[in-house]
């Protein structure tokens, strides 16, 4: 049986009765059992839920009914996204036994569109990390090179899709946590505009930055998943009413004549030579496709990491106040309430989370608020202006997704600042709220994947997908 399923391929196979949804799900579980012990991509499986959904789809097929857009498609969900009845740990000991009483809107919409939810994927604790090594349940291994990290924080989702253990997956991106693992594992991975996808049921890290988005093996499938999860949700007041176009129609449009900005500021020091070679070759692909390449400046790029780690940690310190041992999760008992809080949080959170809570509390504390938090928000405005200025001249922006390919497990764990600096090309778009995709752009020495990042203006997902699709069709992933 094929292991390279696409969404259209699944629907075709179901409609022509080559396979049932139940058999397909069972086949994926067999493969997960075989491969997951090595990769550690999944933390929990939901076979009963998957079977119930598969049976619903098979009943539609048997009744000759029309199949919904994601009929029978096996998907994986990052473990920071709530799934009713299935353990959702956020990769943290503090939520080791937490079972959400409700589904995230994105999960509900996937299932309503026919998707079969296989299980929950590993990630850095509370989505804080760039390598998946901050999970309390052990790191994920990169399926293309198992001595290397899959990227983070959505490392499990990326690894599951890249290794054929799911047809698509949901991840979350706060500073690069979808795009960077997509790049490290060699698959397309997208973050829509802030407000495009409901965050209802996404367990919060940094609320002004967090976004849910898809991983898949093709841009067409990324578009199909985004189509289903995008759009207004009354349960998230920051989800917008901006209309959602038909991405499937948009992606096949020709790209010739589009103006693409190449920001000099993203091509400076610190970029791996192999990454540079591939990205430059990727840009050439667009030239051949008839796009106009325009050199642009985004002068505040170099300040993005500093602004990001102020804002993200400040918001995290506030969001993570809820883990107090009272309503859910771990409690370490003590006779005094305050000591119970301190002990619970001290024992339940891992090192990176504690570090960020301390930093975030510090930048918000009396006497430091103006110097750090307010300053960070002002620099965020300057970075957003870099983008809005650029989009008056160009239709999209091309950059590398990451300055380096997947690094060795353990290589960067002792140096948090070095780990943060690897997010340099992704945090800018996070701060500005614009959509971005990472699309495969060749492999260094035929082995380590490189990702080309495409940014579009806010709610310009269709343009971003169209450019990524054209790149993929032109053979960009194998240059």
């Amino acid at each position: 049986m094929t292991t390279n399923w696409t969404i259209d391929g699944v629907r075709e196979a179901l409609a022509t009765k080559k396979i049932s949804a139940r058999e397909l799900a069972a086949d994926f579980y067999t493969r997960i059992e075989a491969r997951n012990p090595e990769l550690n991509a999944y933390l929990a499986l939901s076979p009963e839920r998957a079977r119930r959904q598969a049976d619903r789809i098979d009943a539609l097929v048997a009744g000759g009914k029309a199949l919904p857009p994601l009929a029978g498609v096996p998907v994986a969900i990052k473990d920071v996204i709530s799934t009713r009845g299935t353990k959702t740990t956020c990769g943290s000991k503090i939520l080791e036994n937490y079972i959400p009483p409700y589904d995230a809107t994105a999960v509900e919409r996937l299932e309503a569109a026919g998707a079969v939810i296989l299980g929950k994927t590993n990630c850095d604790e509370f989505a804080m990390g760039s390598s998946n090594e901050n999970s309390a349940y052990g790191p994920v291994k990169n399926p293309v090179a198992t001595d290397r990290v899959p990227g983070g924080s959505s490392g499990g989702s990326a690894a599951a899709v890249a290794s054929g253990l799911a047809v698509a997956a949901l991840g979350t991106d706060t500073g690069g946590s979808i795009r960077q693992p997509g790049s490290f594992c060699g698959i397309p991975a997208m973050m829509g505009s802030y407000g495009r996808v409901s965050r209802y049921g996404l367990i919060a890290f940094a609320s002004s930055l967090d976004r849910i988005g898809p991983f898949a093996n093709s841009v067409r499938d990324v578009a199909a998943i985004l189509q289903v999860i995008a759009g207004r949700d009354p349960n998230d007041s920051t989800s917008t009413t901006a209309p959602v176009p038909s991405y499937a129609e948009e992606i096949d449009k020709p790209v010739n004549g589009l103006r693409l900005g190449i920001p000099k500021d993203y091509f400076g020091e610190g970029m791996d030579a192999g990454v540079r070679t591939k990205i430059e070759a990727g840009i050439e692909v667009y030239k051949k496709l008839g796009c106009e390449l325009i050199e642009i400046r985004m002068p505040h790029t170099d300040y993005a990491i500093a602004a990001y780690y102020i804002i993200a940690t400040a918001e995290a310190s506030s969001n993570l106040a809820r883990y107090d041992g009272v309503r859910y999760g771990l409690r370490v008992d003590d006779d005094s309430l305050l000591a119970m809080y301190r002990k619970t949080r001290g024992a339940g959170f891992g090192a990176e989370v504690k570090r960020r809570i301390v930093l975030g509390t510090y930048v918000l504390s009396a006497g430091y608020y103006d110097a750090y938090y307010l300053k960070g928000q002002k620099v965020r405005a300057l970075i957003a202006q870099d983008f809005s200025g650029a989009f008056t001249k160009v239709d999209a922006i091309l950059t590398p997704t990451s300055p380096v390919p997947a690094f060795q497990l353990g290589e960067r764990t002792n140096d948090p600042l070095q780990m943060y600096l690897a997010d340099i090309y992704t945090v800018t778009g996070s701060l500005a709220g614009v959509p971005g995709i990472s699309v495969p752009c060749g492999k260094i020495n035929g082995k380590l994947p490189v990702g080309l990042q495409i940014f579009g203006p806010a709610f310009g997902e269709a343009r971003v997908l169209q450019l990524a699709h054209a790149f993929e069709q032109a053979g960009g992933s194998t240059i």
Binding site: P101, L338, L359
Partner: protein
């Protein structure tokens, strides 16, 4: 040095976070390095820049943020309480908060 041991202790107290001696010193040194890096923001003159707390503009959320204040039935209380470390339905039980004088 940007951040002292006392600063970290004070902040950990604000965040209700127990830290071991080792954690205290490790985080202090690492956060010190991060704050040193963050200093580069001082190079930018932001006196006339409005802080950006939220990405969306008012016109993108105007419809979204104003809704009817309706009571919607929700039957999750039991499920919610089941997740509590020490439930006493319909309450969460916690250690004694108020001490006698």
């Amino acid at each position: 040095m940007k951040i002292s041991r006392e600063d970290v202790l004070r902040v950990a107290e604000l965040a209700y976070l127990d830290l071991s001696e080792t954690e205290l010193e490790t985080y202090r040194a690492q956060i010190d390095e991060i704050l040193e890096y963050i200093e580069k923001l001082k190079e930018l003159d932001t006196a006339k820049v409005e802080p950006m707390a939220q990405v969306l503009t008012d016109d993108q959320t105007a419809d979204a943020t104003l809704r009817e204040d309706l009571v919607v039935p929700s039957a999750v209380a039991e499920d919610v309480l089941r997740q509590a470390p020490d439930p006493e339905p319909p309450y969460f039980r916690v250690p004694k908060v108020i001490e006698r004088a």
